[in-house]
Symmetry: C2
Amino acid sequence: MEYASFLRAHIERVVPLTDEEFEQVLPRFRPRTVSRRGLLIKSGDTVKSEFLVMDGLLKSFIYDEKGKEHILQFAMENWWVSDYAAFIAQDKGEIYVQALKTSVVLELSLSDRKELCVLVPKMYQFHGEKAFLGYVALQKRVLSMMKNSAKEKYELLLKQYPQLFQKVSKTLIAHYLGVSRETLSRLEKSHRS
Amino acid sequence: MEYASFLRAHIERVVPLTDEEFEQVLPRFRPRTVSRRGLLIKSGDTVKSEFLVMDGLLKSFIYDEKGKEHILQFAMENWWVSDYAAFIAQDKGEIYVQALKTSVVLELSLSDRKELCVLVPKMYQFHGEKAFLGYVALQKRVLSMMKNSAKEKYELLLKQYPQLFQKVSKTLIAHYLGVSRETLSRLEKSHRS
């Protein structure tokens, strides 16, 4: 799919744009292809951009002090991903964003995002809606991390993102849930039975 | 402080409004006083509104299956609080929002929020900015929950919200951090020494 039509459809799911408005929007986004295992962001980078996934699958994750991987987010088509604390501060981050298969993303810098909102104020509505939905999803995630057992977390993930289980290895699901590979197998068995 | 001037100053920290625009904004917000231990939202309620804190201090929290309290958020002056998953769906929630001392909040319903954005599009920018900052804060919280030790979580909270430690009991800090009261005392001692 041509990226212009993908981008326009993505934005217009929130707010319709005139052709003149979209002409302002389009040149601010830069398409990039990232191959499997390729990194869009790595810990220690100054994070200048956020990324809209047009095709493929990525994960954002950190390592703890013991070198254990913890997955913050998977990102599929139409999802946004970045190290947002570093992005908003234009500072060095701690998150890695890596492609799990060859992916095409549209890159938007913070300065382009801000300038574009001034030129096309409807983009405030677009970004606001995305941020609000992201906030709601993260509030659910925090509550789940605080109160749910591993079994409940597994079932919530299965309910929220059933397509993930076809796309992502068991090891990665375990890293997202914060359980061992063995625990995950046990959860799967008890879920099926 | 009169609530109109509080509200105007709160919004104008993000985006300036004309007098005509603020006349549209003001009647959508309803001031409410909630006394110590009073509940703005309780688990099982249909959540129609969000709340901007004008004065006082509140907490949002859940109980897990064992009846243990987990604090999602403290809310002080100029903070917003609700059960956002339930608010956005206008559905029943699982969160309690309770005043820790007598507080004054400004209540905004989802329908008023939406209508107001249509009438005064600058409010898209205002809510978008708030949601984005909230998203960034929650992303930090999730990362901290995933990777930090109790000691690191304690130090992050102290750095982010030093004023909380004067306002809130040790028991509540422990409920926020997800540690026992005894562990918190140990963390405090090791921090001071």
